[in-house]
């Protein structure tokens, strides 16, 4: 890899900047915890969940390509691989939030359980030791699979052995199943149990849809920046076009799931279910709440509808950033009402967001620097280099 490529993917300067950003973020969160109390824990949970779920879903993107035998995506596979490797880094942000378990999850208090038969009934699942164990388990499983997939892929760069591809297909198949189960459970644990009386069986797939669009958006942001820096000249508009179509499709999927969850609860109008939306649709939250479908569906849908915008790096970059902000707001409106009556943006939220973003950038940069930017000996590389989206499509 040449020197300029190195700079493009985050040379020493970038490392310094992002490390500094992470340090400032950590200090801000520390101050926020001292001043704003529980909101600090919520902000850490917010940032940690954001980074960790994004990493787990990026590994899913890699797995999907292996399982479907996709050739077109090989040329940029190192990017989702690097994002997938961010799970243990995200755990650095998520782990401190677990210290604040008492402030975040009111099922964790024995006196609450004693008075509340419903929560007492849920205690075999929602209890502190099991919860912490599950949290560690989810992150460990996602990090492990991302690491295995990446290790095989990088090993192939040296020996060109087809056995690596075959092994990865098997691991990817297993990961898709494991991901479906662990990701739904993690969404229930980390997010739904913030409001332990509320339940939605669509919650897992709803969060999957949000993570999927944000993982695709992150991939696109990194790819466009890499290409602008000249680090990935093999990336053609055709690759962006297909990624843009995936993004377009998954924003529609997200809207479908969002609406299905909303409409079923709205229509049935059962107090124990509507309570969650009533809380988030009033008292200052409504603006943020209704911003979510605009940022995650309306804007991307109409922006990505024309063919030309799916082939334009700058449009894709902007739409991806809108989506990443939308996912941030989505998780914000999910998490913060548990600790705050009205939406608040203070030291904790800014600090945790800065910390999460910088940690994510550091992880991606580290992942990209460690291996060749293109899987040089992948059997599908040739197909990917000549990937071509129909001219009239």
């Amino acid at each position: 890899m040449s020197a300029e490529q190195l700079t493009a993917v985050g040379g020493p300067n970038h490392v310094k900047i992002f490390s500094g950003g992470a340090a400032i973020g950590a200090v801000l969160v520390g101050a926020g915890l001292a001043i704003e109390g529980a909101r600090g824990w919520a902000a850490l949970l917010h940032a940690g969940t954001y980074v960790v779920t994004l990493a787990a879903t990026a590994a899913l993107l890699v797995s999907l390509a292996y399982v479907t035998g996709a050739g077109w995506s090989v040329v940029f596979r190192r990017v989702p691989e690097a994002i997938g490797a961010a799970a243990p880094w995200g755990a650095l942000v998520l782990a401190p939030a677990m210290i604040g378990i008492g402030a975040l999850y009111h099922w964790s208090h024995a006196d609450v359980l004693a008075e509340d038969p419903i929560l007492a009934g849920k205690a075999p699942w929602l209890n502190v030791p099991f919860f912490l164990g599950r949290t560690a388990g989810y992150v460990a499983i996602w990090a492990l699979f991302a690491w295995i997939l990446r290790k095989n892929s990088v090993a192939q760069d040296h020996d060109g052995d087809l056995a690596h591809t075959r092994a990865n297909v098997r691991w990817a198949t297993l990961y898709i199943i494991v991901y479906a189960l662990t990701f739904a459970a993690a969404s229930f644990d980390w997010l739904m149990s913030l409001d332990p009386h509320w339940f939605s069986t669509m919650w897992g797939v709803y969060n999957f849809a949000g993570s999927m669009v944000s993982a695709l958006a992150t991939t696109l942001v990194v790819l466009v920046l890499l290409r602008r820096g000249g680090a990935l000249p093999e990336l053609k508009d055709d690759h962006l076009h297909d990624l843009g179509r995936l993004l377009f499709g998954f924003t529609c999927f997200w809207a479908y799931i969002w609406f299905s969850q909303y409409m079923l609860i709205w229509y049935a109008n059962i107090p124990e279910e509507t309570e969650w939306f009533v809380h988030r649709g009033h008292g200052g939250w409504e603006v943020l709440y209704w911003a979510i479908p605009i940022l995650l569906f309306v804007v991307p849908f109409f922006a990505l509808l024309p063919r030309a915008s799916k082939r334009s790096g700058s449009v894709l970059l902007q739409v991806s950033l809108v989506i990443l902000v939308g996912r941030w707001v989505d998780l914000f409106v999910t998490i913060q009402p548990a600790v705050s009556e009205t939406p608040a943006l203070g030291l904790s939220e800014i600090g945790a967001t800065l910390l999460g973003l910088c940690v994510l950038a550091l992880a991606i940069g580290a992942g990209l620097r460690k291996a060749s930017m293109v899987p040089r000996k992948d059997p599908f590389l040739e197909e990917s280099l000549h990937h071509h989206v129909g001219h009239t499509m």
Binding site: M263, Y267, H388, G390
Partner: protein, 417 residues
């Protein structure tokens, strides 16, 4: 054909693409290229413009969404506003699934139709033949045309087949239409014939009906009052208690009984009240016969006259305004009201409607006709006398049947004890 065209036939796709490049480099326009399968890079080589099909899809989808949303909104909010499950009259989330489906349907159908039109795939195309000696085994740039044209060319190339193709195709077409004929019979059932019912779970449902007796619940009724202290959405706190409110003479109805208020109140009455209370508040609404204990009558009234005298319409007519206002959100006697957003204007409108009744403004045959015809000159026809008699007879029979059944049930229960 006036234009002069040159036809090239190629056996390999590479040769075709190379030839296309060469011809375009020589600035000779290419009319078309015909290949039995899509060839990589041929579109670019020919310099084809983008297909306009996506615009048709977009227009079809947009039309589908618009029609479905407007249609549902107009039906549910303008033409026949009826409360369903406590939802607002403009229940947009509920319209979305239908709008989505009709978007997909119209987008798909219009795309397919546009494809057929653009490819000239309609019955009896006029083939523009460039060269009769064309054969499916070769790749060729060619003039315009469609698959049928190719078939006719092939037929020409093989005289032995000539003359058979069209007859066969005709017979096939007839057979296809004949196969569809039984569908016409399917439309022939009488209006009261439900036809074959498969999976009748939606018609015959297992839960108790809202107005049915219920052996499980303590008071024997399915429809339960909301728990004590439940506050309806949009409820304004009222500083009088129920009994005081009846006495509070200063609570005069602030809404003047003008045409607009009466019409509004009438629309509310027809939507929410008429089904039980009847057009004049006589308690003869369409759901009353199956109602085990009519919401409008006291439980024990000695005779029909007494029942009639005790009907709530007299409260409404002679009582103070405050009582009417109070009866709105809280109800009287047995009527349970669903929780729903209850706007102040809606209640005020009800009050005005009652004022109108006090003045004796309502017609016997149901207020809907009056209210409707005033605005748009299009009244719902009043059922003819024979139909009315039949309806009254049905109602009476149903009442008697119901009473008998109840008595039998009580006897059985007594015997069981």
């Amino acid at each position: 054909m006036k234009a002069r065209l040159v036809l090239g036939v190629f056996r390999e796709e590479d040769a075709l693409v190379r030839a296309v490049h060469a011809v375009r480099a020589a600035e000779v326009p290419i009319h078309d290229a015909f290949t039995p399968y899509p060839i990589h890079g041929l579109e670019e080589a020919m310099g084809l413009a983008r297909s306009k099909l996506p615009w048709v899809t977009f227009a079809g989808g947009a039309t589908g969404v618009t029609i479905a949303l407007l249609g549902q909104w107009w039906t549910h909010s303008v033409d026949w506003p009826i409360e369903i499950g406590g939802k607002p009259f403009a229940a947009w989330p509920a319209y979305a699934p239908v709008a989505f489906e009709s978007m997909v349907l119209l987008a798909g159908l219009s795309t397919a139709a546009a494809l057929f039109v653009a490819s000239r795939l309609w019955p009896k195309p006029r083939p523009r033949l460039v060269h009769p000696r064309r054969h499916a085994r070769h790749l060729r740039p060619r003039a315009r045309g469609a698959r049928r044209e190719l078939r006719s060319a092939a037929r020409r190339a093989h005289p032995a087949r000539r003359g058979r193709g069209r007859d066969q195709a005709g017979r096939r077409g007839m057979r296809r239409w004949l196969a569809l004929a039984p569908l016409l019979v399917a439309c022939n059932a009488g209006p009261d014939d439900p036809g074959v019912m498969y999976m009748p779970e939606m018609v015959v449902s297992t839960p108790y009906d809202a107005h049915d007796r219920n052996p499980i619940l303590p008071n024997g009724m399915t429809l339960q009052a909301p728990p004590e202290g439940t506050v309806p959405q949009g409820f304004e706190p009222f500083h009088y208690a129920l009994e005081e409110a009846e006495l509070a003479a200063e609570l005069a109805n602030p809404i003047a009984p003008d045409e607009a208020a009466i019409a509004r109140g009438r629309a509310q009455f027809e939507t929410f009240c008429l089904v039980c209370h009847g057009a004049r508040g006589d308690g003869d609404g369409p759901v009353v016969p199956p109602f085990p204990e009519p919401a409008v009558a006291p439980r024990r009234a000695p005779d029909d006259d007494a029942r009639r005298a005790a009907l709530p319409r007299d409260h409404a007519r002679q009582g103070p305004d405050a009582a009417v206002r109070d009866a709105g959100p809280r109800g009287r006697s047995l009527a349970h009201r669903p929780l729903r957003p209850d706007a102040a204007g809606r209640r005020a409108g009800l009050g005005a409607a009652c004022d109108a009744r006090r003045g004796g403004g309502a017609r016997r045959d149901g207020a809907r006709c009056v209210g409707r015809s005033a605005g748009r000159g299009r009244a719902r026809p009043r059922p003819g006398p024979a139909r009315r008699r039949a309806r009254a007879g049905r109602r009476d029979r149903a009442r008697r049947r119901d009473r008998t059944r109840r008595r039998h049930r009580t006897c059985r229960r007594a015997r069981a004890r």
